[in-house]
Amino acid sequence: MTTDKRPAVELQQVSKCFGDFRALDNISLAIHEAEFFSILGPSGCGKSTMLRLIAGLEHADSGKLMIGDRDMAEVPAYGRPCNMVFQNYAIFPHLSVGDNVAYGLRNAGLKKRALEEKIENMLNAVQLAGLEKRKPDQLSGGQRQRVALARALVREPKVLLLDEPLGALDKSLREQMQHELRELQQSVGITFILVTHDQEEALSMSDRIAVMSEGRILQIATPLDIYEQPNCSHVATFIGDMNFIDATTDDVQDDGSVEVIVPGFGRLRFNQRLPSERRGLAHRVAIRPEKLRISRQQTEAELCVSGLVVTSSYWGDQSQFQITVDGCDTPVTVAAHNVGQSGETPPARGERVWLSARPGAFLRFEN
């Protein structure tokens, strides 16, 4: 994603309290035009609140919200160039599918013919053609979801806000809709802001992801960077699995590099310093399970240590192992893709194995 585009939505130091509870705490972020932006975080971290704030359904206690180059402070919900797909879809039960989609155009002053054409095109786009006479209670979950989408998109908003739109769908339908949603976004070219607590959804669909926790933004980055370079242990644990191992800084060199003692893995060299780096600093190093390679023989890798298999579980496409590395107290998790020939049995419980890794695959976090 190029960053030279001007922001479609910008929040500047926005805070929102419900009573004493800080739902949003000094949030600043800029979302680009035509970007697929996801907000990811555990339940109750303020994702919906942020979306509702942008939609104008909540009002910030402090801070500034810009959509395009307009300050939204005085603009009511019905005047904002953004539309929302609600967590429960919020389809009007007393209106037919066609009337639901037409609802947002009631104030547009379109001629009957133009209106009908627009609705027809929209229903075609979301594959609901022929259902315009149906009542919402005669629709399946996926169809309701499409009605909600069509109803919002037909207004041609600058920004589409989606609050966990796929949360209520079953797995296969969810995957299909993820795909469709991404395609739709690319074809209409408007900014999508998607709220989700499903990390795979966020990783696979987004241009950028904001990870939130307790009303704050922890990190905003591309899916790749969020996964490979999490900026704190919260992000690292929230997205994917991560092994944490207690470590100690042994030496800080003049060229900026540091040497770290990791029990069981020996002395590792890092080029980046932690903010409070000093000799003897207790901190943690981390490595993702799939970055550790498991083998029965010692390898030529720069870092290769030996350990015992504690548990071994077969998951079909991959196997997971818990391994206690000699000299390290906490067992590490290792994930291996089962690419081997059939008949090759994975290491079993109690077997002695070798783990190898690139030293660069290790990350460091302060405690």
Binding site: R52, A55, G56, L57, P76, A77, Y78, G79, N83, M84, F86, Q87, N88, A90, I91, F92, P93, H94, Y103, G104, R106, N107, A108, K135, P136, D137, R151, A152, R155
Partner: protein
């Protein structure tokens, strides 16, 4: 065992029929004697006549009372439903301070005897020299109808999904349009129920009307006055019969309307 059950069933049947009999017998008396060619309500019946109906349609004062009653009932039904709609919306949608006690105050007229309401309104209106008459009765009736409207509409609006209104705002409708296009259609069955019920309550209310109607008697007040003149009684029966049939027709129509809309309305809950 089976014998016991049979006796139980028989008892239940007898009870139901007896209940219906005692409940509706007096009402059946009305049409019966309204076609009876005699001033006196007593068996055996004399000949068949429609005289009382002719007399009725030629009597301007009873028709005037009927008109007054209809006007008052319409005004009371519309006003109390409107007020009820606003209150129910405020109480179900917004966080109102002291909601519990407010609701208590709203429901108070349900337990205050109408006698008290009538007397106190009479004294108050007299002191304010506001004059009595139709509007005074409407005022009193709105007071007793309002709790019913609030109760009916609150139970209807309690289950409303707040996000529907938010969706409407988000889709470019103002607050007023949202009310018109989303809240009102969803509340419509409740609104109809409230109008029908409050209309009926107002239409046959006696005490308050008696105190406040002054020289514009409502139908119940007028009929009560006529009971002193035995010769007027049969045409009163004729009027009663007409009212029963009209209200049956209205209730049947309302029920038909509700049934026809039922599948639609179910979805909105």
């Amino acid at each position: 065992m089976a014998g016991m059950r049979r006796i139980g069933q028989r008892l239940r049947g007898t009870f139901s029929w007896g209940y219906l009999f005692f409940l509706y017998l007096p009402i059946l008396i009305l049409p019966l004697f309204s076609f009876n060619d005699s001033y006196y309500i007593s068996f055996p019946l004399k000949g068949f006549t429609t005289r009382w109906y002719q007399e009725l349609s030629a009597d301007p004062s009873i028709l005037g009372a009927l008109l007054t009653s209809l006007q008052i009932a319409c005004a009371a039904a519309v006003l109390s439903t409107l007020l009820g709609l606003m209150s129910a919306r405020a109480l179900t949608r917004h966080r109102v301070r002291g909601e519990k006690s407010l609701l208590g105050v709203i429901m108070l007229p349900l337990v205050v005897p109408e006698l008290i309401i009538g007397v106190s309104l009479l004294t108050m209106l007299n002191h304010a020299s506001a004059g009595l008459g139709k509007w005074a009765v409407v005022l009193g009736h709105v007071l007793i109808c309002y709790p019913f409207s609030v109760a009916i509409l609150m139970s209807r609006m309690e289950g409303f999904d707040k996000s529907l209104e938010e969706a409407s705002l988000d889709l470019g409708s103002t607050h007023w349009q949202t009310f018109r296009w989303v809240v009102l259609p969803l509340a419509l069955p409740g609104v109809i129920a409230s109008v029908l019920l409050t209309f009926t309550i107002s239409f046959d209310e006696f005490l308050i009307a008696f105190f406040l109607s002054s020289n514009e008697p409502t139908l119940p007040v007028y009929i009560w006055g006529q009971l002193r003149f035995p010769k007027k009684l049969p045409s009163t029966l004729a009027l009663g019969t007409a009212i029963i049939f009209v209200s049956f027709a209205v209730v049947a129509f309302a029920e038909w309307l509700r049934r026809r809309d039922a599948p639609k309305k179910e979805a909105s809950q």
